[in-house]
Amino acid sequence: MKFALLRNTIKGHAGWLGVGLAYGVSIIFGVAAGALLLLSRGAGGGATEGVSLAIPTVLFLGWLIGPIMTTGFDSTIDPSKLATYPLTSRQMTVGLFAVACLGGGGVFSLLAVAGLVGAVAPASPLALVSFAAGLSVVGVSVAASRAVAALISGASRRVRDTLLFVVPLVFTSIGVLPQLLNLAEDDQVADLGRLAPAAKLIATALPSGPPAQALLAASQGKAAASLLWLAGGVVWIGVMLWLWSLALRRMLVRAVSAPAAGARDRQVTASRALYWRVVNWLPRTRVGAVAAKELRLTTRDPRQRAALLGSVVGAVPFALMGLSQPGPSAVLRVSAVAFFVGATSTNLYGYDGASHWMNVAAGDDARADLRGKCLGRALIGGTLVLLLVALTATLTGYWSLALPAMALGVAGLGLGLGPAAWVSVAYPWPMPPAQKNVFAGANTGQGMQAFVPLLILSLVGGLVLFGLGSLMARDSRSAVQLLLLSALAVAIGVGAFAIGMTRAIVRSRDRQPELLLALTKA
């Protein structure tokens, strides 16, 4: 059945899935090549130890967090579809485990681990232990991933929503840690070295730790130790499968959501209820209503919260990196956040999905819908930039650059959001619906279709922004130069947004039913 599902998914989307596949493979081979290069340069036993522990850990965390972050990335069979069949949860667990290993994620993982095993396995019978340990790494990663997903799916909607927000927040925050700990200073390598024992301890304590240690022990010729660690890995797989089986039993008989009773009783009028208190000034028009709805859903829809979080956490470390380098760039870098928020909005209609019929039924007004959606995004991006500019200017004392940084933020938002609006209309694709099973979504490659133009536009926009920022940093002492550059930045931002919007409106004019149809193809 899995092969049939994959075949039917690929049908008609083979080209873009191919691009996605090539992209995924290039990343995996990039990582593998980096690891092998490190080893071949004779970095010694420390490097072997590091790679042996790091790759399984990254793989394990990827399997654990990936599906939660994307709320449905893999095309694994949805267990709830099997609920009506006379299968025990144990039978389902075993079958679904095999199915999970057959998907793209499973194959990529096996390839990555094969590379690692090939690099560290000894030329002795212990190579067999290395091979088994490699398989165990993949097995425990898949089993743990499914167990956690099933546990989350079986929880109540409120718990699920909270987890889908908190888990990505915790894990993506790790990316900010080096900045918060100010590790980007001169002695970066030494500082990171201080963290190595702790990282090793954590990597070993994870379920992927024992098979990783087995790999390491086998590479060092320690037969008994490697076999013991391998046994530990097998035990972890058993534990994870058992947990998964328990979670499945619970998940398949639990209501998708709680009854509507018990909601907080707010006595506000309907038109007031749609608007956040802080944006109550937004007009009571179609543009205002769409913007208000976007803002409401950004906080309420766990998929949108996670997406926003991803773009913000991706940009904030870069923006704050400048704090460790005294100079004007610390304040100016903040505009990157606006660019990230804008450039990651390339699927503005995706979260609406088939619900977009409400807009179509109310009469086609693509201009108002797009303006409303962009306004919502701009309010989020603008607020973030404002706060970060104030923070970095206070910390560095470069208050004179606050206004130019804001102007650069306008440029970033325009350069990101304008092209994103066009991509949203030209390559719309439905996001997996928020439902009981976080693995239920099927990837048809439409996202990759939008990704290519996004990549090109991001590169161009990023270069323009970088150029403007560099000029501002160079001329930071001249008020006149800064004023001129600020005006130029605003003009570029507004211009890029206007061009993108115009193209998007022309593209979507009188084509709302087609847009709706594209969003309905889940």
Binding site: R157, S257, A258, P259, A260, A261, G262, A263, R264, D265, R266, T269, A270, S271, R272, A273, L274, R284, T285, R286, G288, A289, V290, K293, R296, L297, R300, D301, D352, G353, A354, S355, W357, M358, N359, V360, A361, A362, G363, D364, D365, A434, D510, P513, E514, L516, L517
Partner: protein, 273 residues
């Protein structure tokens, strides 16, 4: 641009739609008079939903013309859509908006004044029995509550024609009764209701006119009495679309359960009690 005229609320002519080789709607012509309660019936896959989608501007037809209250749906969609309310079959509302917010959003999309939205939303929520759940998100609504909320959103702007796709599907009797009451009040004011269903009993009770669709075509239409021709509507329907199925022969294996379970499995079941 106003076209047509007379007392027709909806005029459909030569409507066609194909998906690949499949002709979902193969040339539909239908005129629905103002104030009618019009049922469109047909077996699954007959083309009812596709016809309603094309009539309401949610799906572009390959050929044909739809005129609503004198306004061409595909030449002047904004003006035509002002005249109609829609309750689609797949109730895909914004899951994370509350019931009250969905109504507000729907009203503001149609440029209604906020005061009007507030007072009408209040009344609709009370009448539809959703007042207590007004602040709950749609994700927590039952199927019946969703139908009622979608009906509220379709009625909020006071349309002249209401299109409902399977409005009583998966709805409990209490919610169904509420929906019927709302619809009767609506048609009592001279407005038009067009709805699709495959439940003949409901159509017979509610509608004054009916159109029967089969394989993308209209096979009969007129008043209920005209289409029934002295029979029950269900009998007339079955005759029009063909009985279908393979008859009583075959499926011999559908014997009593005890005879079907393999011996080995039966032994295990009996040991478990």
């Amino acid at each position: 641009m106003a076209t047509g005229g007379g007392d027709a609320a909806v005029e459909i002519s030569g409507l066609r739609k194909s998906f690949g080789d499949k002709h979902a709607v193969a040339g539909v012509d239908l005129t629905i008079r103002r104030g009618s309660f019009y049922g469109i019936v047909g077996p699954n896959g007959a083309g009812k939903s596709t016809t309603l989608k094309m009539t309401t501007g949610l799906l572009r037809p390959d050929e044909g013309r739809v005129v609503i209250e004198g306004l061409d749906m595909w030449r002047d969609p904004v003006a035509a859509k002002r005249q109609i309310g829609i309750l689609p079959e797949e109730l895909l509302l914004f899951e994370r908006l509350t019931g009250q917010e969905v109504l507000a959003y729907s009203g503001l999309l149609r440029a209604m004044p906020p005061d009007t939205i507030d007072s009408r939303a209040e009344e609709l929520l009370a009448f539809l029995g959703l007042a207590e759940a007004r602040n709950a998100v749609v994700a927590d609504y039952s199927q019946g509550m969703r139908k009622k909320l979608a009906l509220g959103a379709a009625l909020l702007h006071g349309p002249k024609v209401l299109f409902l796709d399977e409005p009583f599907e998966s709805v409990d009797p209490v919610s169904s009764r509420t929906i019927r009451q709302v619809l009767k009040r609506f048609t009592g004011s001279g407005a038009t209701v067009v709805f699709s269903s495959h439940v003949m009993e409901t159509v017979e009770q509610l509608c004054d006119h009916v159109a029967v669709m089969h394989l993308g075509r209209l096979v009969d239409n007129g008043t209920i009495t005209e289409v029934r021709r002295g029979r029950r509507l269900e009998d007339a329907f079955v005759e029009l679309v063909g009985a279908g199925g393979a008859g009583p022969e075959g499926l011999d294996w559908l014997a009593p359960v005890a005879d079907r379970v393999p011996t080995r499995r039966r032994r295990r079941f009996s040991s478990q009690g």
